[in-house]
Symmetry: C2
Subunit: 216 residues, 2 copies
């Protein structure tokens, strides 16, 4: 199972990140979440702090660009022709593409399914859960009231939807941008992990056969 | 595994119906596709021919009602207050609800996931595949040219989308209306069946534990 990459897109509060982390451990894969950001920063030469919040806080593209523009005008990293938000996205996508081609990793968020849309060695997964369950989970995890959690989930949902739909021109939540999509509440986390792992192992086996037929 | 019901919504040409049929065999479940229609007709007292094409030909709600209205004006089945298309939908939904509560069956199409949205003993599945692969599959199955198949797939996609979105107020293709969604081309039919079966068996086991705890 060396050559497969798994991308996980996830609704906030669905447990998608933890599911990805467990999955990576079970498959002995590398795991990239926020670590992807510092790697992309390093590879792109852009300052790491610019990458923070790019995915979740982009509830409004204009505000996002203004906020980042604010940082940048003090830091002085701006390149004239491309908005910095787009530079950040492109830098992330290049890092995702490089990691994805190498395989043997689980990548969380950052439109990984889009960056790797042409890669055959990639299993693209979407994890979601009913709103009420996500709110309950976030309230517990963040030790906040249900109404605070509801506001946070709403804000994060809006941010991820806008970010995804701005950069991919696909609709957030549409199953057809993924190979496999799971409701982590209806199925439960353990079963979700088992199903993704079963799919990953079967695809990896198929890939290795393809690979034997046409060696690079 | 007596009490679980599996609903399968599927893109035209994705193999969803055949996947459901194989799955039903392997689980020793009853299988309802078009057979659902004659059953709904029988239970509702509406004439069977009214149900034909209700799902796939509803590319335009008005045309659908006009077409059905045409049949009805000759047959004389119309009830004054409810459009006949809605009577057909309600009759189907009632039959789906009855079958779904009984469990031990696979139900194809007709917004089964919506009719059974409140049922806990139901695994709701969506099966899709890339357009080009569906066109290729339909051309082969129906022995037609690729351009004829493309036109047919386009017409059916439009019909199912309109039908689904009219009756459910959900968006066709959105993963979040299902427990599990699979790309039957990326994963392959056999793996798709295996994943649904694994999920079904795990959920049925969980249900039977719940059942032991609180007998009816």
């Amino acid at each position: 199972m060396k050559r497969l990459t798994i991308t996980i897109s996830r609704e906030f509060g669905s447990g998608g990140r933890l599911i990805g982390e467990k999955l990576a451990k079970q498959l002995n894969f590398s795991f990239f979440d926020r670590s992807l950001l510092s790697m992309a920063a390093k590879e792109s030469g852009l300052a790491p702090f610019i990458f923070e919040g790019a995915e979740d806080e982009a509830a409004n593209k204009l505000l996002f660009n203004l906020a980042i523009g604010g940082y940048v005008s003090t830091g002085g990293f701006a390149q004239a022709n491309i908005p910095l938000s787009d530079q950040v996205f492109l830098a992330q996508s290049e890092t995702i593409l490089r990691l994805g081609k190498e395989g043997g990793c689980v990548l969380i968020g950052r439109c990984g399914n889009y960056a790797l849309r042409k890669e055959l060695n990639c299993l693209k997964v979407f994890i979601y859960a009913p709103l009420a369950e996500r709110v309950r989970h976030v309230a517990e995890r963040e030790k906040m009231s249900l109404s605070e959690a509801e506001a946070l989930v709403g804000k994060m949902d809006k941010g991820r939807t806008n970010y995804y739909e701005h950069y991919t021109d696909w609709r957030w939540g549409d199953a057809r941008s993924y190979d496999l999509a799971l409701d982590s509440f209806a199925l439960g986390w353990d079963l979700s992990i088992k199903l993704i792992q079963t799919a990953a192992e079967a695809l990896a086996a198929k890939l290795s056969v393809l690979h034997q037929r046409s060696p690079e």
